[in-house]
Symmetry: C2
Subunit: 417 residues, 2 copies
């Protein structure tokens, strides 16, 4: 035996006490409800993946500097998943002959990145992943963006609370070609430059172009035929949203997204609150990822939404879910002999779908009420000899102090109202 153990969790991860977990679970349930209503099916997998799954797919920076990778006792190189998309692609590829396409799937996995803890950037977080595989056209792009919007709206957010900025990798590729960035290394390097543009001085950005025109300005003018075609496709998509009264989708050629594997549409959702004008989540089209496991390419589009940014957004806008973890009713027992009858009453209420705890510890009734209050139970019922013989109880609402006298058989129905 050693000295006292620390009660701290591992650095950068969270303990979820019941109240916190109830709030997060409630948010997850809202996401599930919306996604299931669109026919999206939930899948899951282990956080342990062969390290090879991430090599040459996820961004280089993430693989080399930010993954948890280790060697197991059988000498296998294992990575704790930093994101879910490679797992999804692996699973779809494994059953490509059996699955009915288009595949509409979602998952809410925990993902891991070794980085310095900072606001919204933990070493482990939950990330909703929504993906549509097997469709290449604008209808799939449209569906995914509609769903991204519906998810926020399901919490009570309005279109004015967030904007969806879209661009595409194929547009950027055309612009890079026109500007003279021809090799994939040059294009990747420009893309990474663009991704950091907001954080660097204008001069530094311009110097990095080494005298070539900025692809962004070529997109602006759209004189090049290929650029014009790609840009028009995005503008048509936006028009289609406008026609459906979704007015918060805008074209923004500076949207890049970090992952190397994106091929087409990319989008990012921003909070429009001027005090918290940040990127909430995003995604894009990745038509070549599933094909890396063999067989024909399977076109795909999807997005990932982290739990911390989602909850921050909901809190900022005053629409965070309120959830309770404590039992609805605390049954107080004035004496030892009241415990057995109270247990019977509790079982009846439980059968009616009510959550109930019974006091079995021998405290005074006053202490029992104080305990119920501290616990956060909604109601208190004292169940002594009088109540047992009359068959009537007083249901005390702890927050208001209000009491309602009811026959025992009417409690569950009263609460259901």
């Amino acid at each position: 035996m050693k000295g006292e153990l620390s009660t701290e969790p591992y650095k950068g991860v969270r303990d979820f006490y019941p109240e916190d977990w109830a709030a997060l679970s409630s948010a997850f349930e809202t996401l599930r409800r919306v996604l299931k209503s669109y026919g999206y099916e939930e899948y899951n997998a282990s956080p342990l993946e062969p390290a090879s799954l991430y090599e040459s797919k996820t961004s280089e920076e993430i693989v080399n500097e930010q993954t948890y990778t280790f060697t197991d006792r059988g000498d296998r190189k294992v990575t704790l998943r930093p994101e879910m998309t490679p797992t999804l692609a692996r699973m779809v590829a494994a059953k490509r002959r059996e699955l009915a396409f288009p595949v509409r799937w979602f998952s809410i996995p925990n993902v891991f990145r070794y980085e310095r803890p900072q606001r919204g950037r933990l070493r482990e977080h939950y990330q909703l992943n929504v993906d549509l595989l097997g469709m290449k056209d604008a209808k799939a792009d449209g569906e995914i963006i509609v769903i991204a919007s519906k998810l926020l709206r399901a919490f009570g957010a309005q279109d004015k609370d967030f904007s969806i900025r879209i661009s595409s990798r194929s547009l950027l590729d055309a612009a890079c070609n026109a500007a003279g960035f021809r090799s994939s290394e040059e294009k990747d390097s420009y893309r990474r430059l663009l991704d950091r543009k907001a954080k660097m001085p204008k001069e530094e950005f311009e110097a990095a172009l080494e005298g070539r025109p900025d692809p962004l300005s070529l997109i602006e003018s759209a004189d090049d035929a290929e650029i014009a075609k790609e840009k028009d496709a995005l503008l048509s998509l936006i028009e289609a949203f406008n026609a459906r009264s979704m007015t918060n989708v805008v074209f923004d050629p500076e949207i890049v997204r970090g992952f190397d594997y994106y091929t087409g549409l990319v989008f990012e959702v921003f909070d429009t609150n001027p005090e918290n004008s940040r990127s909430l989540f995003g995604g894009g089209r990745y038509d070549n990822l599933v094909g890396m496991f063999g067989g024909d390419a399977i076109p795909a589009i999807g997005f990932g939404m982290g739990d911390v940014t989602l909850m921050d957004f909901l809190t900022t806008h005053g629409i965070a879910p309120v959830a309770k973890s404590a039992a609805t009713i605390y049954i107080g027992t004035p004496s030892e002999e009241d415990i057995a009858p109270a247990q019977t009453l509790a079982d009846t209420l439980r059968d009616g779908g009510v959550s109930v705890i019974v006091h079995v510890g021998g405290k005074s009734l006053g202490d029992q009420i104080r305990e119920a209050d501290k616990r956060g139970n909604t109601y208190f019922i004292a169940y002594g000899k009088d109540e047992q013989s009359s068959g009537e109880v007083r249901l005390k609402e702890l927050e208001s102090g209000e009491e309602t006298t009811l026959p025992i058989s009417g409690v569950a129905a009263h609460l259901a109202k």
Copy 2:
């Protein structure tokens, strides 16, 4: 870019395709419903824990040979939790001043052990953990055993389908004292011997006693006063269950449980099916674990139930949950122009709580029906010009082929029936 990637998951872990995940999630929801009805609150934590959390607590064999332990990029020793109890004890200890005791908590974490994959023994599995902390008496022991039983009964199991065998570490300790096993090393070594008894020849077991009496036979005769006291406590507990018509709780002094930290009652639930007579899950009292984090000891009792053994039990008894992951309705679109009206219809149905997918891929109606069938959707609706003008649809139940003609406004209500 390298060659083709493998679609295999990491060795010993599972991919959960939507149908599998729906079945497991449904089982988890049943567990949650029962536990919440008893006022148990769900908590959660990261699978990453400081390695020090498991040293000198979990069984030595598990820590030395079966954990996933590695060093992170910041030189911290990290373990993927092999079990949840140390995390629970850490979390309760951290908030011991704020929590209302007794604490009733549960969680359904994934836990990790490095061992050879075999039936019911994966490297990662889900394990329901149910714990009651802050009460030392038989009422807490009784509550935990009642809940263990209620959980199986909630799936439709009957008392005759499983037995709950109980013993206690304090009884075993008294018997070891009486038999002359005095040091804690000698006692631990006898306990481990007993744990392996069923798997070894009788002679080997007897030889290991080195001429001392077998503590088991001293428990049988119960001549020693301390043994008699401990044994009576267990027999009274069983009588109390019998009085509540729970007739499947039996005394079995060979029940040991692997963890070093148990101090009092230990129990194990067995399938009574002669073809599958195996241990399903178990737990026990651990009154010293929380105190290892500093402060007074907090008495505690709990159990863990693995997902694989649970599902095997339910399948063996024909009571495994049936769950569907596919959307309820597939709306077929005879032509491109039908898609927009179909989307509107789908949105209306979704608002009514129905899950719907709309065909947007341009297949023939026959192929659309075949696709819906393959997907496992329950109903198919063809939504063409006729349906749009009449406001009536034919709801085709795919399994039976039965068709019902309904006004559009009546579909959600029809399904709710």
